[in-house]
């Protein structure tokens, strides 16, 4: 399968990429690792007329620890995240989740900024960023702004990013020594999660749900139950509350709700709640 023809521009800088986005508007898409976008283009689910390749912007590939925050450049690959010693110490959830994305070849190419901008509710890392209470740093024609993960995902493959903006950095609260868990349920190797749960405890508990609605979701009812002193079983019983999963070949709505409760209980048990 070959994508529909498009114009290709290799961005020399963030500003150059933003200029291209301003010029071409909705017709342009940013290309990072391409492991979500190119398959969609082959299937004609995405038909951009201009691809702006940001893959060479190496200065957006980094992992830093500054005070209470871990900062990850948008073009940092999943492979760099999963093998980072710094993240093992300061943000082990994101490292652990990155290690479960796709397969090694996909992780060599896929980027953290790319997977967040793609906003697929079945992707693992967006739910982890939600559970952590992360923030996207976004560059646009008027400068930079910060978007909290809770405000970022707005619909199926939709985010708060404007067509002329790009994610440049992801900020995550450092959770040194914090407990974490990621429970992903699928039937075949390398598949997307039918449902997955990311949980982290560092003073408060954050729980993110994969594939339980049109966007990655924060399990607020579970988090509130834990804050009120509930045990893992009672808190996890709330896991499907406020969710709107769809039915597909893999699972019915009821089965997804069941998986969310079971996986959440297992994750909270890992956190010793």
């Amino acid at each position: 399968m070959i994508p529909v023809a498009f114009e290709y521009v290799r961005a020399e800088s963030v500003d150059h990429a933003l200029e291209q986005l301003s010029e071409h508007g909705d017709e342009a898409k940013l290309l990072a690792g391409g492991h979500s976008l190119l398959p969609m283009m082959k299937l004609r689910l995405a038909v951009p007329s201009v691809l702006v390749d940001v893959g060479r912007l190496n200065d957006l590939s980094y992992i830093r620890h500054e005070g209470d925050t871990v900062k990850i450049g948008a073009l940092t690959t999943h492979h760099l995240v999963e093998t980072s010693e710094l993240l093992a110490e300061y943000c082990p959830l994101i490292k652990g989740v990155a290690a479960e994305v796709g397969d090694p070849q996909v992780r060599h190419r896929g980027t953290l900024g790319g997977t967040l901008a793609h906003a697929d509710p079945a992707s693992d890392l967006p739910a982890a960023v939600l559970a952590l209470g992360g923030t996207m740093v976004v560059a646009g024609p008027k400068g930079r702004r910060r978007i909290a993960a809770t405000d970022f995902f707005t619909g199926y493959y939709e985010s708060a990013l404007a067509p002329d903006e790009m994610i440049v950095e992801i900020e995550l609260p450092a959770t040194p020594g914090g407990k974490w868990s990621f429970k992903k349920f699928n039937r075949r190797a390398q598949d997307w999660a039918i449902v997955a749960v990311a949980a982290v405890h560092n003073g408060t508990t954050g729980v993110g749900l994969v594939n339980m609605g049109a966007t990655p979701l924060r399990a607020t009812a579970v988090e509130e139950a834990i804050a009120a002193g509930a045990n893992a079983k009672d808190a996890a019983a709330q896991a499907a509350q406020g969710t709107s999963p769809t039915e597909d070949l893999n699972a019915t709505v009821e089965y997804r709700a069941h998986l969310a409760r079971v996986l959440t209980e297992r994750a909270l048990t890992d956190l010793q709640i």
Partner: protein, 154 residues
């Protein structure tokens, strides 16, 4: 547009539309047909090559994205008429049946050992998660990779 890269140590260039996938550039422009196209949807791993030393699925990389990069395909593994130790391990352990997935398996496995020279059996299985064998000959493939790792550490 004109695309230049280094493939198996040789500088190459060719005309490619932006939408040309790296695997088709390698097979059709360069005539290196050892890299197979399997599923064409980044699932099966038959098209795995090394891009700047890391395994990638060349059906999900544009040729223009590889501009200026170092590419290694299965044809670049043997040196001076001698099989690469991973190829030899597959040969000695009967790590292939029909052979279609084998180039991708060898490329994925060498990248795996580069990152983890002494993997456990489970780590080999997880490390080859992105490569499917329709003959389901995984047992001997895993055995081959473990043998190659052991050979390299001797």
């Amino acid at each position: 547009m004109q695309v230049k890269m280094t493939v198996n140590g040789q500088d190459v260039s060719g005309e490619a539309e932006p939408r040309t996938l790296l695997v088709y550039f390698i097979r059709e422009q360069l005539g290196l047909t050892g890299t197979n196209v399997g599923c064409d949807t980044s699932s099966c791993g038959a098209c795995t090559v090394h891009l700047d030393g890391q395994s990638v699925k060349s059906c999900t990389v544009l040729a223009v994205q590889a501009e200026g990069c170092q590419i290694t395909t299965i044809e670049g593994m043997a040196q001076g008429g001698e099989m690469h130790p991973m190829q030899r391990a597959f040969h000695e352990n009967h790590g292939l049946q029909c052979g279609y997935c084998t180039p991708g398996m060898v490329m994925a496995a060498t990248s795996l050992l580069e990152e983890n020279p002494n993997p456990t059996e489970e780590e080999v299985r997880l490390g080859l998660e992105g490569n499917l064998c329709r003959c389901t000959g995984y047992h001997n493939i895993v055995k081959s990779v473990l043998a190659a790792a052991e050979g390299a550490s001797e």
